[in-house]
Assembly symmetry: C2
Homo-oligomer: 174 residues x 2
């Protein structure tokens, strides 16, 4: 009897600890951004790929869009609006020519990801908490730290260009 | 005693079934390519991302490099040569301007993944089986079907340009 009580107590304590350290969006890391209060989700770098893009102009990067399970499922089904619990990550790197490829092909050919650039961005869907910004909490982190409030406030106005697609620019690349 | 015997028998039978339906490279799908005999690994599309690239010239695509667990671990550690069991996948799409982004920025800005293009390619590391091609089995599939033998034989000579990097062009993008 004593052993059962001890095990039950351990389970209660552990459950409390787990609840204390995770947010509604799952396990997170570091400081939350101003405005949306979004944190960096743990393990996002290994999430599956939604799509890729190249940005020209001042951004000049190669980027990848990754998604958690909820995001991937909805993206693959072409489902809009995305369900609550969706988290989409945007990572990016400098747009660099690949020397060995130019040699192999005999002319400039390949452009690959150089060092990380333009921070890491997230969109977290919670249609109640973020009702004033289309249901999405936006977040930008530069070198792991939250970007300032002015930067955070630029996200939603720009994404409003694709309001008809639930504020998400990307489409799933099969 | 009888129950233990039945459970053991079930485990033995199930183990046999699992062994029968998987290859040394894991679960696979469809027809193997000529030359290397590589099949499409099941679930590759959801593997984590190693890196991204843009190819100009006749290829004209946006591409992503994905890796199985062995590949990701080695790539992240910058480890060369890659260990046996590494599988690297290259998927690609047409390089298309994104209309809504041009509107949001006021000038041509973003290029995104359009329809799939240039097939799907794999590199499978088995330093004994593929000793004559640097330890790698190469495979190209077009619309899910193996490309012809002539195409399969173009892979290794081109990848020889990066022999010093274990025949792999890409580098992990953190």
């Amino acid at each position: 009897m004593r052993r059962i009580v001890l095990v039950s107590a351990a389970v209660v304590i552990l459950s409390g600890v787990v609840t204390f350290t995770t947010s509604a969006a799952g396990d997170v890391d570091g400081e939350a951004v101003p405005v949306s209060g979004v944190n960096i989700p743990l393990g996002y770098r290994d999430w599956p790929l939604i799509s890729v893009a190249h940005e020209e102009g001042t951004l000049s990067d190669l980027r990848a869009i990754l998604g958690n399970d909820v995001a991937i499922k909805a993206a693959r089904e072409g489902k809009r609006p995305f369900p609550d619990g969706t988290i989409i990550a945007r990572i990016a790197w400098s747009y660099d020519p690949l020397e060995e490829s130019s040699q192999a092909f005999g002319h400039p050919q390949s452009f690959v990801a150089g060092p990380p650039k333009n921070g890491v961005q997230f969109m977290v869907k919670d249609s109640i908490k973020y009702a004033s910004t289309g249901g999405w909490g936006f977040a930008q982190f530069d070198e792991g730290k939250p970007a300032d409030e002015a930067m955070q406030r630029t996200c939603f106005p720009c994404h409003s260009a694709v309001k008809a697609r639930d504020f998400v620019f990307n489409r799933y690349a099969p």
